[in-house]
């Protein structure tokens, strides 16, 4: 029982990371109708930026800001270089281009930084606190806390601010939005920047828990995508619930079934959902419209 509680905590912590990346997927999908397969690499690049900045001697908070600014810039470059030139084509070329971008990003980092995994310090000096039978790791607490804050921020931003409403309008009907004087290309640019920062944040948060490695991007992206399907594709709440659920399933699977196949559980859950409930828990937007 104590072990189960401990695993639940860890699972939610890791699931929160998947949820953040999944949120980035969903936001870009809603704005552009395209899945960005390089979303996971945003996390990986941010983690490396963080490592570089910390090694350069910046204080942790400054390194954090530098890394997130770098991600915003990457979001801009990504939109201009990969998505924007293909925006009038069908989804297939865009998917392939984002896959190309994902390969390019991962291997550029590999070429520059080498294959050796890096270690990033956690934000806090205290490793954690003991609460009854459960040990609460400080970094996991931070991840969960930041995710809760971001979910609240996200709700406030999209529902209560004018910019958020413009973004929503763009994702629902681009032509109409542009007729109402909303600059669609600006809105898409903002979406890419926001998603890149979100993915970057997830990468920086999870880096002290995992190793900072080239593979972390694709691993996180696969889990996050599975999370979006489990939750219901294109649904913000679904992405978060799906992410948390997947983190918990995976942690329990690794503890009770098999460690080497930990990364396989996400796939099995994914296929089970595709076969039995393709619309996900919250059931929305199953296939592309005609």
């Amino acid at each position: 029982m104590d072990l189960a509680l401990q695993l639940l905590f860890t699972g939610i912590g890791i699931g929160a990371v998947y949820a953040l990346v999944a949120l980035g997927f969903v936001l870009i999908f809603r704005a552009t109708n395209v899945v960005n397969f390089a979303q996971g690499e945003f996390s990986m690049v941010a983690a490396y930026l963080m490592v570089v900045a910390v090694e350069a001697g910046l204080p942790y908070w400054a390194a954090f800001i530098v890394a997130l600014l770098g991600m915003a810039l990457l979001g801009v470059v990504f939109n201009l270089g990969v998505y924007y030139p293909l925006r009038h084509r069908t989804y297939l070329p865009v998917i392939i281009a984002t896959i190309g971008a994902s390969i390019l990003l991962a291997n550029s980092v590999l070429a520059i930084y080498g294959p050796q995994p890096q270690v990033l310090q956690g934000w806090f000096d205290t490793p954690g606190i003991q609460l009854g039978p459960v040990y609460l790791d400080s970094q996991y607490l931070l991840i969960i806390g930041v995710t809760i804050c971001l979910v609240i921020f996200n709700f406030w931003f999209f529902e209560k601010t004018l910019l958020g409403k413009k973004l929503q309008a763009t994702s629902q009907d681009k032509e109409m939005a542009s007729l109402l004087g909303i600059s669609v290309s600006t809105m898409i640019m903002i979406t890419f920047i926001y998603s890149a920062v979100l993915g970057g944040l997830a990468g920086i948060l999870v880096a002290p828990v995992l190793f900072v490695s080239i593979q972390m991007g694709s691993t996180i992206a696969l889990k996050a995508f599975a999370a979006t399907i489990i939750g219901g594709f294109g649904d913000v709440a679904g992405a978060i619930i799906g992410g948390l659920a997947l983190g918990v399933i995976e942690t329990f699977g690794a503890a009770y079934i098999s460690v080497p196949y930990k990364d396989g559980f996400a796939f099995l859950v994914l296929v089970a959902f595709l076969v039995f409930r393709p619309q996900g828990i919250f059931g929305e937007r199953v296939a592309e419209k005609a």
Binding site: V34, A226, G264, E288
Partner: protein
């Protein structure tokens, strides 16, 4: 109802083409020469290995040209299927001491089944799902190869893999692989012009239109995907026999990306492109070996290539060359003459061709169509009209199966089609056109119409490709576009594209033709032509259900009119009487 059609039959007989085997003889001669060369020329070991790698990789990339090029579906796990075939041969010949041939076939079957399973679980959904699921599958296969040491020998890989007795020397084995490449290449090349290949291209260009033209979209995609997996497995088996050693890193996700890049670079639509792409991407890295000294640099360049090719050369190298060639050839190619189009609508049922009772379609709380009854008499033109938002197009979409009815019953010529998917309704005799034209845009006018003619259950088409072309030519000639049959859709005006869509439906010899606002977007001359065409179709006894806003067209063409407003039927009866009906007048003009 067998009035002679008044379209002008062209007396010249259709040109019969020579049998395929003779037309394609040069290909087989060239292939035979290559096989003989591979068997007899002396290569050093290095050149031999490169040739063997190129040959086996090209077969795997052919698979991608089927799934991605012909059918427009993505597969990011080709290296995994390649690996399944390779491990089947490796483990089978080494651990189990089975015959090479048995293992090769076994590997193909395993890949095929894995591909079919993945396809069945995912292909009903959008393309993004397929991309992610194939990546996940790729990761799983890699995980198993590395971790299931009892089965796969783990990271050490499998060595000492046997070859068949017949091809023990590496020279003869290479010749055998080249021969396999030639055979698979021929089949893939020819696939595009078979019924299945046309169905795949139709699915790629427009899934919705493919469905209403009688193609089972889901099954076609599964065939394409499973075929791709099968070719991956075959290629992997040949690869394992050739190199006698396999290890997990040869079948990683990175290799899947290499396969994808090969396919995109050469041109995804054709096996020739696949061969070019494979050759280039095996040779270029050999020339630029220094790139491999920096880990990652090499794949980073691949990634960049993918982005650049997609942006600047979406059809690849061969697509670029072939496009110019087709343009030049399309002008020279003679158009076969056609006889007059015969429409012989089937008539099993009684006087009523389409009987719709209590049809409803609700979207959540919105009752788009609410308890509508329609009875379409055989041999007549029946119009369905109503103001904007009255539920006309929804009704048509429910009739053709694009939407599932919430309630009610649809009987076509005695068959209950209420719960059939679109392609089965088409097989039962339904034909339709779309308000916003849905043609297969990468095909010629003739190919578009051929897909219509290929409708399952079409009794007006004889056996073989020639009969199909003949039927399609007749339909195109009927709408007046016979002389432009071999032009691509993009070169036709909007009005002509609409005519092609009608020809596509006519070629299928439907029992009932649904026309969704055929006059929308046409100018006044084109509308007159359309009106004439409708008369000629009706004169052949084909029943038509037409939706349109153009009151002149409707009142002149239709004998019977049903009027919808707010999803309900407000009037039904003989044309002139309905148009004078006070409810109809107030629905259109408003009441005081």
């Amino acid at each position: 109802m067998s009035a002679p059609s008044d379209n002008m039959p062209i007396p010249a007989p259709a040109i019969r083409s020579k049998p395929l085997v003779i037309r394609h003889l040069p290909y087989f001669i060239a292939a035979a020469i290559l096989v003989v060369l591979a068997a007899n020329m002396r290569f050093d070991g290095y050149v031999h290995n490169i040739l063997l790698q190129a040959t086996t990789f090209a077969i795997a990339v052919f698979g991608l040209s089927v799934v991605l090029g012909l059918c427009g579906q993505i597969n990011l796990a080709q290296a995994a299927f390649f690996g399944l075939g390779a491990y089947a041969v490796g483990l089978g010949t080494n651990d189990l001491h089975l015959s090479f041939w048995l293992c090769l076939v076994g590997g193909c079957v395993i890949s095929l089944l894995a591909g079919a399973f993945l396809g069945m679980s995912t292909l009903r959904l959008g393309g993004h799902y397929l991309a992610m699921v194939t990546i996940s599958f790729q990761q799983i296969v890699t995980l198993v190869m590395i971790n299931a040491i009892w089965l796969t020998h783990g990271p050490d890989g499998v060595s000492n893999i046997k070859r068949p007795d017949l091809f023990q020397t590496s020279q003869s084995y290479l010749a055998f692989c080249v021969a396999m490449l030639a055979i698979v290449g021929y089949l893939v090349w020819h696939l595009a012009d078979t019924k299945l290949g046309r169905a795949m291209r139709a699915v790629r260009d427009n899934e919705l239109a493919a469905g209403v033209n009688g193609i089972d979209v889901f099954r076609t995609k599964i065939y394409a995907f499973a075929l791709c997996a099968l070719l991956g497995g075959l290629a992997g088996g040949l690869f394992a026999g050739g190199f006698a050693y396999v290890s997990p890193d040869q079948f990683s996700f990175a290799e899947s990306i290499v396969f994808l890049t090969m396919s995109l670079l050469g041109g995804v639509a054709s096996p020739i492109g696949s061969a070019i792409g494979t050759g280039l991407l095996i040779l270029i890295p050999e020339w630029l070996r220094f790139l491999k000294s920096v880990p990652g640099l090499y794949l980073a360049i691949y990634g960049l290539f993918v982005i650049l090719i997609i942006r600047f050369m979406p059809d690849g190298i061969w697509g670029f060359v072939a496009d110019a060639f087709t343009r030049w050839r399309a002008k020279v190619k003679a158009v076969p003459a056609a006889a007059a189009l015969q429409l012989k609508p089937a008539s099993i049922g009684g006087d009523i061709v389409l009987e719709v009772t209590g049809l409803s379609k609700h979207f959540g709380g919105l009752k788009a169509v609410d308890g509508v009854d329609i009875a379409v008499k055989r041999g007549g033109v029946h119009a369905l009209i109503g103001p904007n938002g009255s539920g006309k197009t929804t009704t048509l979409n429910v009739l053709s199966g694009l939407y599932e009815a919430t309630a009610g019953k649809i009987v076509l010529d005695g068959t209950d089609i209420t719960h059939m998917p679109p392609h089965q309704r088409t097989a039962s005799g339904l034909g339709r056109t779309f308000q916003n034209i849905r043609l297969f845009r990468s095909m010629t006018a003739l190919e578009n119409v051929e897909i219509g003619a290929e409708r399952p259950g079409n009794t007006m088409v004889g056996k073989g490709d020639d009969a199909l072309t003949e039927r399609a030519m007749e339909a195109l000639t009927f709408v007046g576009l016979g002389s432009r049959a071999n032009e691509l859709i993009s070169s036709f005006s909007y009005g002509h594209q609409r005519l092609i869509e009608i020809a596509r439906a006519l070629a299928s010899n439907p029992t009932l033709l649904l026309l969704d606002e055929p006059a929308a977007g046409l100018n006044s001359t084109e509308k007159l032509e359309l009106h004439e065409l409708l008369k000629r179709i009706a004169a052949q006894g084909l029943t038509i259900l037409i939706i349109d806003h153009d009151m002149t067209l409707v009142s002149e063409a239709a004998q019977h009119i049903t009027v919808l407003n707010f999803g309900r039927r407000i009037a039904d009866g003989e044309s002139m009487a309905v148009l004078r009906h006070p409810d109809v007048v107030s629905a259109y003009l408003g009441s005081e």
